[in-house]
């Protein structure tokens, strides 16, 4: 599946939500279904700094693709990161960098992008893009 297809799938799923409660119920479900982060990756190096909750993102470069794993101690944050993992994991660095996450606005969770939400979607997205940049540089060497 391409990044675009992953996003479309999410958008479709969220279309059935009638209100905020439904929407967050779905985000929470995503959080609970996120593949657990192996203990060896729960390290300082993978941690995003911020004041609201703890977030870890681990990235590996396997067969030209970026494999993402993540976790958070807050369920909603975990749900948000789970959406990003679904969209961007197992994709090439080039595709990650060239496909913006337009689903965020579409499904109406862009309030989590605001810079005051430390550890919000914005910093997670930035971290994923930084991994992609680093792997892209490795790949072209």
């Amino acid at each position: 599946m391409t990044i675009q297809q992953n996003q479309d799938e999410i958008i479709e799923e969220f279309e059935s939500c009638l209100d905020w409660e439904d929407k967050y119920a779905l985000v929470i479900k995503y959080g609970r279904e996120l593949e657990p982060l192996p203990e060896q990756h729960r390290i300082e190096k993978n941690k995003l700094s911020g004041c609201q909750s703890q977030v870890w993102i681990n990235a590996e470069f396997v067969d030209g693709k970026v494999k993402l794993q993540a976790d958070s101690d807050a369920t909603i944050v975990k749900g948000l990161i789970s959406l990003l993992v679904k969209v961007y994991s197992n994709q090439t660095p080039e595709d990650i960098l060239s496909t913006p996450p337009h689903f965020i606005k579409k499904i109406g969770i862009d309030n989590h992008l605001s810079p005051t939400r430390k550890n919000g979607l914005g910093s997670m997205l930035k971290q994923i893009q930084m991994y992609a940049v680093a792997f892209k540089a490795m790949g072209t060497k």
């Binding site: 905020w20 119920a25 909750s53 703890q54 807050a74 944050v77």
Partner: protein, 422 residues
Amino acid sequence: MSENLAVVEEIYDSKRIFNLNEIRKDFPILSREVNGKPLVYLDNAASSQKPQSVIDAVTHFYTHENANIHRGLHFLSEYATESYESARLKVKEHINAMSVSEIIFVRSATEAINLVSNSLGDMNFFDEGDEIIISTMEHHANIVPWQMLAKKKNLLLKIVPINDKGEIIFEEFEKLISEKTKLVSIVHVSNALGTINPVREIIKTAHSFNIPVLLDGAQAMPHFKVDVQSLDCDFYVFSGHKMYGPTGIGILYGKTFYLDKMPPYQGGGDMIREVTFEKTTYDDLPHKFEAGTPNIAGGIGLGAAIDYFNQFDEIDMLNHENEILKYVTEKMSEIEGLRIIGTAENKSAVVSFVIDDIHPYDIGTIIDTDGIAIRTGHHCTQPLNKFFGLPATARASFAFYNTLEEVDKLIKGIYKVKRMFS
């Protein structure tokens, strides 16, 4: 005739009746909606809302009076100066300072503490190895400036421990005092716990060793009147925006005894008597500490906030806030898995809490969808959070304009959170 006069006088002296419906109408933002629901604003310890009279005072200044102060002799400059200085007088009367020269306008309570720490540092008030006492429940604003000074001057910060209820252990405070102690800097009311500290006793004890005391009053001023002379504190700092005034304005009160000896914190215009390239002499108090064009509108707005506050009998406001505190504490105690952090005997209307297995971020996010604003996170008191072993908590903080119905909405919101994460 004289009887009639007495009646008239009594009417003029009497305070405004504490009518919650009427009071809420004074705060325009309280009637707005958030996420399609009426706003329930329970983040007052972060910043309070403003009554129309404060908004009007700021607007009126920019519309009719705007000019720089203390400079021109033209009409507007004189007028603006008059308004700004009368706001200083209101602050002086409100906290019962000895004189207006003891009232320094600053940007925030944070800036006030930085002013004191920098200025005392510059006048060699501290010798190497001297000690400053603060408490475990300080806001970062009353930790970091002293830490910076301690690093620069080789001082030692000593921390007064607290008990599990979030109260200062007074005997431990007494034990920390040594002949090296030069200053005690303590929060009056804790932003994270609501604890009202026994500042009178702390000051009395410190003064018996000739140690001055600074009080961080940012969370006290919105709730009750403070009399700095009666407390006998040496410095008292607070911000305007937490006490129904504008942002960007704060107050440093200091006893003339100290302020007079302290060197300026910043240099520039409006704080000088004479400047040559060789030497500058400084203006008198309070202007010595007020370099540059100040937040004139902010000062005037703060004056209006004080006028608003003083319309009411302080006892009515306190009784109402205490009723809210009692009610929310009772209701929360019934919620399984919810734990209130900060259960001091003497407490203002602030409730920090955690719920088993639900992160504060999750609590705050879900509650927000119903238009309920609470704070989640570390509340700028990370050492305190560490004491309780909690990286974050959720906090509902109340003002006199909040209602018991709003508490009910909060409680309903918490049950919803519990349902969604069960």
